[in-house]
């Protein structure tokens, strides 16, 4: 393990992240202003105008928070139904050369919710379940729109802070269209081509069948004509039969166009089952580096946008610094434990210097796998380049904890910023209590109703995560889906609901949410979790935005708590960690923490 090289890669990543933050932030300021100007105007402006005309949108018409919320909810509902029906009827739709059947109702619903809420949880298997049309139309639509909606909500909240005595917080429709046209489509077009140059596929061919070079004998469970496994006389052991593997299926399809927005829009839903670990979906370390950077690019730039919009650039950088500290901490912990590897396997003769490589790819190695896992869960991306389920206990605790902070460490596009601002309001409130003054944030008085909205969000998310986990943990259907037993099995469930409610979409992927016996309860509870995690957050936040916009701005005085500088960063860090930790520590103790000690003791399940 070459540690100096890993540090170099980490340095390069941080440097790149810092370098993209300001330019992209400046671009966002123009994109999120309906009268903003960008260098893309000569090409894109006509398309924007036509779109407004076709949809009957008046771009100058701003909305109140209720109008904004209503538009967002209605648009989400229409998109959800659209995808549901595309998936259900994919066998009748074009671009299905594999003749994949229509998707079952519960799986179609779960997947439609998953993409509408920017979660991209994969109950579906990717290459084995969904046609190219379902991917390109049913899913990719949400990759763009759910990300644009997320940025819109963040922008609405920032407008709420920046304005005073105002009744509107922007227009959902212009935010949606402008983010898509001026940000996502142009950047992703270029990004997709770079990914193709590294080896990612982009075609409309049916899957290829290769004649393998060394045909190998294998043993597979025997199945009868109905596709049911044949069992031996004892009624449990499956009968095995010998087969020779002579061919290999090679997945084809329009992957690059989808992966570009999957990463840049922090969506994370894979074209293939193995997601960004699949050699087509992440061919080289360079494609891996760019994918990691593209996850953090917009969330990082949005902090700059915040600072500039509220005319306090240092506040934006203070929020950025808080996120950055949490990101570096998580990466270092995950890296340390993954590099140390699994002592149980090392006693069996596995090299101790290689680290834990179960569920990791050689081309990325331990460091890039730990870094990717931290980034994808800091943000609400959920793409994976290594299997989190096979991480060491503490290596796996880092992504789990990141999910449970509400994914505010840079976070999802938009979602990260508005999630973090919830904590900012809470931190300001706590500071106010400590000094005994009415708390103010950027000149706005934080009153009872604001704090109530903030607490509503935090409590709804924690209750959904922990409540659903508890329900699954004590139910036969919950335990039936597990791939691991003992504390790790509990971690699989905890991770699943943390990921769903956090709208992340990564998984301890051994969990089977879509069992062969057709039990719908995982698909439905996870779907419910995703809806709560998305809309129980967005609606109170838009309400908060509307309320903040309507307030008067007070001039700063000597007693005003300053929302920049070290004191603020420390207070915000403490708030995020304490709220996240106090809420979820008991559950984490039963899962990864106890497993850590069991590994040391050599216990197996």
């Amino acid at each position: 393990m070459n540690h100096s090289n890993a540090w170099l890669q980490f340095g390069l990543f941080v440097l790149s992240l810092v370098l993209v933050t300001k330019p992209l932030g400046l671009h966002l300021m123009q994109v999120l202003d309906v009268r903003g100007r960008t260098f893309l105007d000569p090409v894109v402006k006509p398309f924007e105008r036509i779109t407004y005309r076709l949809c009957g949108i008046d771009p100058e018409q701003e909305q109140s928070w209720i109008g904004y919320t209503l538009s967002l909810l209605m648009f989400s509902l229409v998109g959800l139904l659209f995808t549901y029906f595309v998936l259900r009827f994919q066998h009748l739709l074009p671009l299905n050369p594999q003749h994949l059947p229509g998707v079952e109702p519960d799986l179609a619903l779960n997947t439609a919710i998953s993409f509408t809420t920017n979660t991209n949880w994969q109950s579906y298997g990717g290459e084995g379940t969904l046609s190219a049309f379902s991917q390109m139309v049913g899913l990719a639509l949400h990759n763009f729109t759910s990300a644009a909606a997320g940025i819109g909500v963040a922008a609405a909240l920032v407008r709420g802070l920046a304005r005073h005595t105002a009744s509107t917080i922007g227009s959902f429709w212009t935010d949606l269209i402008r983010c898509t046209y001026y940000l996502f489509v142009p950047v992703c077009g270029v990004f997709a081509l770079v990914l193709v140059s590294q080896g990612m596929i982009q075609n409309f061919k049916p899957y290829d069948t290769a004649k393998v070079i060394d045909s190998t004998p294998i043993q597979v469970p025997k199945v009868d004509e109905k596709g049911q496994a044949v069992l031996a006389a004892d009624g449990r052991t499956p009968v095995l039969e010998k087969k020779t593997v002579e061919t290999q299926t090679i997945v084809q399809g329009p992957m690059a166009s989808q992966v570009a927005i999957k990463m840049f829009g922090t969506n994370g839903g894979g074209y293939t089952n193995a997601n960004a670990a699949h050699p087509f979906e992440n061919p080289t370390p360079l494609s891996n580096f760019l994918q990691m950077l593209s996850i953090f690019a917009i969330p990082s730039a949005l902090t700059y946008y915040l600072g500039r919009m509220v005319k306090n650039a240092r506040h934006g950088w203070a929020v950025w610094t808080t996120m950055f500290v949490l990101f570096v901490g998580g990466t270092l912990v995950a890296w340390k434990f993954e590099a140390a590897g699994n002592p149980i396997h090392q006693q069996a003769g596995v090299s101790a210097t290689d680290g834990n490589l179960e569920g990791k790819e050689v081309r990325f190695g331990v460091f890039n796998s730990a870094l990717f896992a931290t980034i994808t869960t800091d943000a609400s991306c959920g793409a994976v380049n290594a299997m989190h389920d096979s991480f060491t206990p503490i290596g796996g605790l880092v992504p789990l904890f990141n999910l449970q902070t509400g994914e505010v460490i840079f976070g999802g596009v938009g979602a990260g910023l508005y999630g973090m601002l919830i904590f900012v309001v809470l931190a300001v409130f706590i500071a106010g209590l400590m000094v005994g003054r009415t708390p103010e944030y950027l000149g706005k008085k934080i009153e009872a109703i604001d704090v109530k909205l903030v607490m509503l969000v935090l409590m709804a998310l924690a209750a959904a995560t922990l409540g659903l986990t508890a329900w699954a943990a004590v139910s036969p259907w919950g335990q039936a889906g597990l791939n691991n037993v003992g504390p790790h099995g509990f971690s699989e469930m905890l991770y699943a609901y943390s990921s769903a409610v956090g709208n992340n979409g990564s998984a301890f992927a051994g969990l089977t949410a879509n069992p062969a016996d057709g039990d719908v309860r995982y698909n439905l509870t996870l779907g419910g979790g995703m809806l709560i995690g998305r809309f129980f957050m967005i609606v109170p936040i838009l309400a908060l935005a509307g309320n903040l916009a309507s307030k008067k701005r007070l001039p700063a005085s000597a007693g005003t708590f300053r929302t920049e500088g070290l004191t603020f960063v420390v207070l915000l860090l403490g708030t995020v960690i304490l709220v996240g930790a106090l809420t979820h520590l008991p559950a984490l103790a039963v899962g990864p923490v106890v497993e850590h000690f069991l590994v040391k003791a050599g216990s197996l399940f």
């Binding site: 763009f144 061919k205 004649k211 329009p254 596995v350």
Partner: protein
Amino acid sequence: MKLLLTELKTSILATLVLVIVVCGIYPLAVWAGAQLAFPDQANGSLIVDADGTVRGSRLLAQSFTAEKYFHPRPSAAGSGYDGASSSGSNLGPTSRKLADTVAAEVAAYRRRNGVPETVPVPADAVTRSASGLDPHISIANALLQLPRVARARNLADQDLRGLIELHTDRRSLTVLGEPGVNVLMLNRALDALESAP
């Protein structure tokens, strides 16, 4: 109510327009650019014989079990190296099944390659990758397999070392990622060596 209907109408229209732009124009434009600029990569980096038979993809691992080939990492994709169901084992650190499998893989690896108990086995050789299609093995793993392949093919160690070197994918931009030996390409090169006069 009227407001809701207006919202519904705008939502449906916006959905339709966006479908055309982001699910039609955008992927087609990327497709055209990719096919023009990088046709080989865009179509799966396929390995094709002179007669047009597709033999695999440079990026996807295939199963190799014969003595005369280098062996890839164990695979959990379907029943092994199944390109249509990429997957890892997803077994956790305290899984007995995983510990047993790793121990069995270690024993099998030592037996096949004559690696003594005193030499630790490279982790990549006995663990399953995330995709089940990882085309690479570590250089240490390739070097431990080298004597077996050299014996089976009657080749000098030195020649094989050169081939391993040739088919090692280096770090991107010399710093990113880890180097790995592409097993499929290495084995193809070995076969080509044999069939050459």
